[in-house]
Symmetry: C2
Subunit: 237 residues, 2 copies
């Protein structure tokens, strides 16, 4: 069943905050829920992006490689692509582009995906280095990251927007990953400026929020003491 109105999410971002970074879903399982998506590997092993059913990993070394079916993920989003053209943009920062999306739609209270394909004047990304157990917190792990800059690069950005009410469940606002057209650059997007790109959008009527119920660490954890919103703010944005 390929329901193009549903965004699938495995686990919650809050689960990562105290360092519950064990992989609880395989890439094979994730691909049953979509041909497009983003996520991370066990121990925050790089930044993942799925385009046209092909899952890519950007490692903290900057290398980009395809991901195997048994690769495990602690957190991911996926959906079946059915994007619709929204606008063509030129000479625009990411922040400006996001504002234009809200000027053109009324999607601020629902989940939706953006696909921005074209040429980027500049893009700054990061990729986290994999931690080993016992895992440190999200914040500590996210600080072990490499930042990458590219100027004048062709590629595709996939972004999921979550309403602010869902901050902690997901990243409230936009959460974007990038892959260069020639597959030699990518990562979790920190900021960018479009040279010229097509912006497509896909709105979701439902979020399918799946929990890692087979992970005893997740099931037993007391999240009450975790500083979820602040740690997400510092780790993801």
């Amino acid at each position: 069943m390929k329901d193009q109105h549903v965004l699938y999410q495995h686990s919650t971002l809050a689960t990562l905050v105290p360092g519950l970074l064990k992989g609880t879903l395989t890439m094979k399982e994730l691909l049953q829920h979509g041909d497009t998506g983003i996520g991370t590997g066990e121990g925050l092993d790089g930044e993942l992006i799925i385009l046209d059913g092909q899952p890519y990993q950007v490692r903290s070394t900057g290398e980009v490689n395809l991901v195997a079916a048994d690769f495990k993920l602690p957190f991911a989003n996926a959906h079946f692509a059915h994007f619709e053209p929204l606008m063509t943009v030129k000479n625009l920062t990411g922040v400006q582009l996001e504002k234009r999306v809200f000027a053109a739609t009324h999607y601020q209270n629902i989940f939706f995906a953006l696909k921005v394909s074209g040429h980027f004047k500049q893009i700054k990304t990061r990729a986290v280095a994999k931690s080993e157990p016992p895992y440190p917190t999200l914040l500590a792990t996210a600080q072990a990251q490499q930042v990458f800059n590219a100027d004048g690069i062709a590629g595709t950005l996939i972004s999921y927007y979550a309403p602010q009410l869902f901050n902690g469940v997901a990243v409230g606002g936009y959460h974007s990953h990038f892959l260069a057209a020639n597959h030699d650059f990518g990562g979790h997007v920190l900021n960018y400026t479009v040279d010229s790109a097509d912006v497509q959008i896909q709105a979701f009527t439902s979020l399918e929020q799946h929990f890692p119920v087979d992970d005893p660490d997740f099931m037993a954890h007391d999240f009450a003491a975790d500083n979820i919103a602040d740690d997400i703010e510092q780790s993801e944005k």
Copy 2:
């Protein structure tokens, strides 16, 4: 498709907070997602409980009636029942029962449902009176409620538990509705003491969170100024 591991939710509790109380789903549509559930009608028209596929409404007059297929709801939960026996309890308050559930399970981080069937020493419920447009806020509407007490009554309580991370999306913690065995008493449960009852439980691996995307008022609303957590605390607990 009857997936007994999925809890369906239409809209979010946060949507009710500023008074977005228009019915955005019919009971017929809700019953496609479950034979068991709770909810409210347009304008907070009473307290609903679905048992064995039969939807009942407890009105602010205290009357209990069956709900028609075209009855509209602004907020509801439903699932297909596959409860498992958890324990038999005697002489226990609701608060004590809820603690025993967590002593017996590790479900504090996932959504689950409880079904408590038996004899109740005492139960205190409320039912909200329907508001008409322009709708007041959830807090103002919830204050237009009738409180009911019963002593020595047989019946069934359906409760949905949501992890605290989802407070605002749903009611963080337990959200319980009751129906007497003879269908002459019920409502949103404020407190109770069990005389003797069977407690059954059903854990969910996923939440299917559905948004009222066809309601322009929901789509356009700016939730930033709404005092969601406080108003839910005062309205629902």
